[in-house]
Amino acid sequence: MSIQNHLSRLNVELLNGSLKSLLNDTLARAIGLGVGFVLWTVLAAQFPRELLPTPAETVGLAWGLVTDGTAWIHISTTFQSLFWAFIFAMLLGGTLGVLMGLNSYGQNFFTPAVNIGLSIPGLAWAAVAFLVFSYESIALGTLRYAPVVAATLTVFPYVAINIWKGVENIDHDLLRMADAFSISRRRVLWRIVLPNIAPQIFSAVRFGLAIGWKVTIIAELFAGSAGVGFKLEHAYQIYQYEEAWAWAAVFLGIIVII
C-alpha cells in the first residue's frame, strides 16, 4: 500500500472520524459568530453611541430591563396577544384548510380569499384593526384586541395552506381499507387522519408562531401602551436608541432560548 494510505490509516486511528468532524463544525460556527461579534464592536466604536451601542452596553441595558421587570411585563403582553391570535388563526385556517382539501369546490371557493390574505401585509391589517377598534377604545377597552385580530388575519392563510395540503394528501388507500374493515369513524379520525396530517399541522404551527409574533409586534406599533413592539417604537420616537437595541437583544435572547 502507498504511503498515503498508511498515513490516512494513522490519521483515522488517532482521531475517530466523527469526533474530528464535530470539532471542525463547532470551530466554523465559533468563527462565524466570533467574526460577527468583532465586527459589531469595531463598528460600534466608529458610530455614535446611540446609533450602535457596543455589545457590552447592549447586554448591560438588556439585563437591566430583565431584572427590573419591565421586560417581563411587555413580553408577556406580546405573548398573550400572540397566544390568542395563534388559537384563532389555527381554528380559522384549519377549518378553511380542511374545507379546501376535501373537494375541488372548496378549493376553488376559498383560494381567492387565501390569496388575498397572503398578499395583504401585516401592517395593513394592523392599521385597519387599530382604526376599527380605536373608537371609544378607552371606554370599551377594545383596543387591546387589535393586535390579536391583525395577527389572526395575517396568519390564517399560511395555516390554511398547510392544512389544505395535508388533507389533500391523505392516503385514500388507507381510508378505503378502513372502510372495508368497517372501522368506526372515531377510530379512523384518530388513528388514520390525524397521523396523516400531523406533519402539516406541525408546519402550520411553526409558520403560525413565526409569522404571528412578527405581526403582533407590528400591531403593537399602534396599540397604545404595552408590548415589545410598542416599547421599541417608543424608544425610537424619543431617540433612546440604545434602549431599542436592548429590547431587541432581550427578544432575540428569548427566541434563541425557545
Partner: protein, 265 residues
C-alpha cells in the same frame, strides 16, 4: 331537489371565483351592519369602493407607487444578489454552512419591525430606509431557499455526469444550476412579496413617500376608507406581479414539471 341546481355553479372555476368574491363582500357587509362593537368605526364595502375610485382618478397614487416601486426595486435587487451568493456559500461548503447558520436562523426569526426601526435609526427619513429594510429581511429567506436547493441536488446525476466525463462547466450549467433553479425561483417570489411588505412597513415608520407613508397619512386623519383604498391598490399590484408576471415566467421555465404549481411557498 339538488339536481335542479346547475352543475356549473360548482364546477366552472370562474363562476366559483365570482361566488367567492361575492361571499366576501356579503360577509363584510353583514359584519358592518351588525357587529355592535365596531359599528361606529367600520366601513362598508361601498365606501371603500368609492374611496378607491377617487384615489385612482386623482392620480395621487402615481407618485407614491413609483416611490414604493423604487424602494422595492433596490431592496429586492440587493436581496437577490446577496441571498443567492450567501445561499451558494452555505449550500456548497460545510465551513460556510456552519459559520453562517446562526445568522440565517436569526435572520428568519427576527421580527420585521425590528429591522424597520433599526433601518430608520441608521438611515433616517427617506428612501434608503425602506430599501435597506427590505434587503435585510429578504436576504436570509432567499439564502435559505438556495441552500435547500443545493442540498437537494440529485447526487446520482452528478455521478452519472462524472462517469461520462462531462466537463465541470457543463455539469454546473446543466445539472447544478437547473436543479437549484426551481427552489431559487420559489425563493425569489417569496422574497419579492416580503420586500413589498417590509418596504411598506419601513415607509410607514420613516419615509416621506410611498404606500406605507400614505397609509400612515390616512391613519393620522382616522380615515379607514382611505387606508383601505391604499391597501386595495397595494394588494392588487402585488397579486398582479405575483401571478401575472412571475407566475407566467414560472410556467414557461418549468414546463417540464407535470404538477400543478400555484407557487404557494
Amino acid at each position: 331537489m339538488f339536481d335542479k341546481i346547475p352543475q356549473s355553479l360548482f364546477e366552472n372555476r370562474f363562476i366559483v371565483f365570482l361566488e367567492s368574491t361575492v361571499a366576501i363582500v356579503i360577509v363584510w357587509t353583514i359584519a358592518y351592519r351588525t357587529l355592535p362593537l365596531i359599528r361606529e368605526s367600520f366601513v362598508s364595502p361601498t365606501e371603500v369602493a368609492i374611496a378607491t375610485r377617487e384615489l385612482f382618478v386623482s392620480m395621487i397614487w402615481v407618485e407614491h407607487f413609483v416611490a414604493s416601486l423604487s424602494h422595492v426595486f433596490y431592496g429586492f435587487g440587493i436581496a437577490v444578489v446577496a441571498g443567492t451568493v450567501l445561499g451558494i456559500l452555505v449550500g456548497w461548503w460545510d465551513f460556510w454552512e456552519k459559520a453562517f447558520q446562526d445568522y440565517l436562523t436569526v435572520g428568519i426569526a427576527i421580527p420585521s419591525l425590528f429591522v424597520a426601526i433599526f433601518s430608520a435609526m441608521w438611515f433616517g427619513l427617506g428612501s434608503t430606509t425602506p430599501a435597506a429594510a427590505a434587503a435585510i429581511v429578504a436576504t436570509p429567506y432567499l439564502a435559505t431557499n438556495v441552500y435547500g436547493g443545493i442540498n437537494n441536488i440529485d447526487n446520482d446525476l452528478l455521478t452519472m455526469a462524472r462517469a461520462f466525463d462531462v466537463s465541470r462547466f457543463r455539469v454546473i450549467k446543466r445539472v447544478i444550476v437547473q436543479s437549484v433553479l426551481p427552489d431559487w425561483f420559489a425563493g425569489l417570489r417569496y422574497a419579492l412579496a416580503l420586500s413589498w411588505k417590509i418596504a411598506s412597513l419601513a415607509e410607514y415608520i420613516a419615509a416621506e413617500q410611498g404606500i406605507g407613508y400614505m397609509i400612515r397619512f390616512e391613519m393620522r386623519v382616522l380615515d379607514l376608507a382611505g387606508v383601505l383604498s391604499w391597501v386595495v391598490f397595494f394588494t392588487a399590484l402585488l397579486l398582479f406581479i405575483e401571478y401575472g408576471i412571475l407566475g407566467q415566467i414560472e410556467k414557461r421555465v418549468f414546463a417540464w414539471r407535470q404538477r400543478d404549481s400555484i407557487g404557494w411557498v
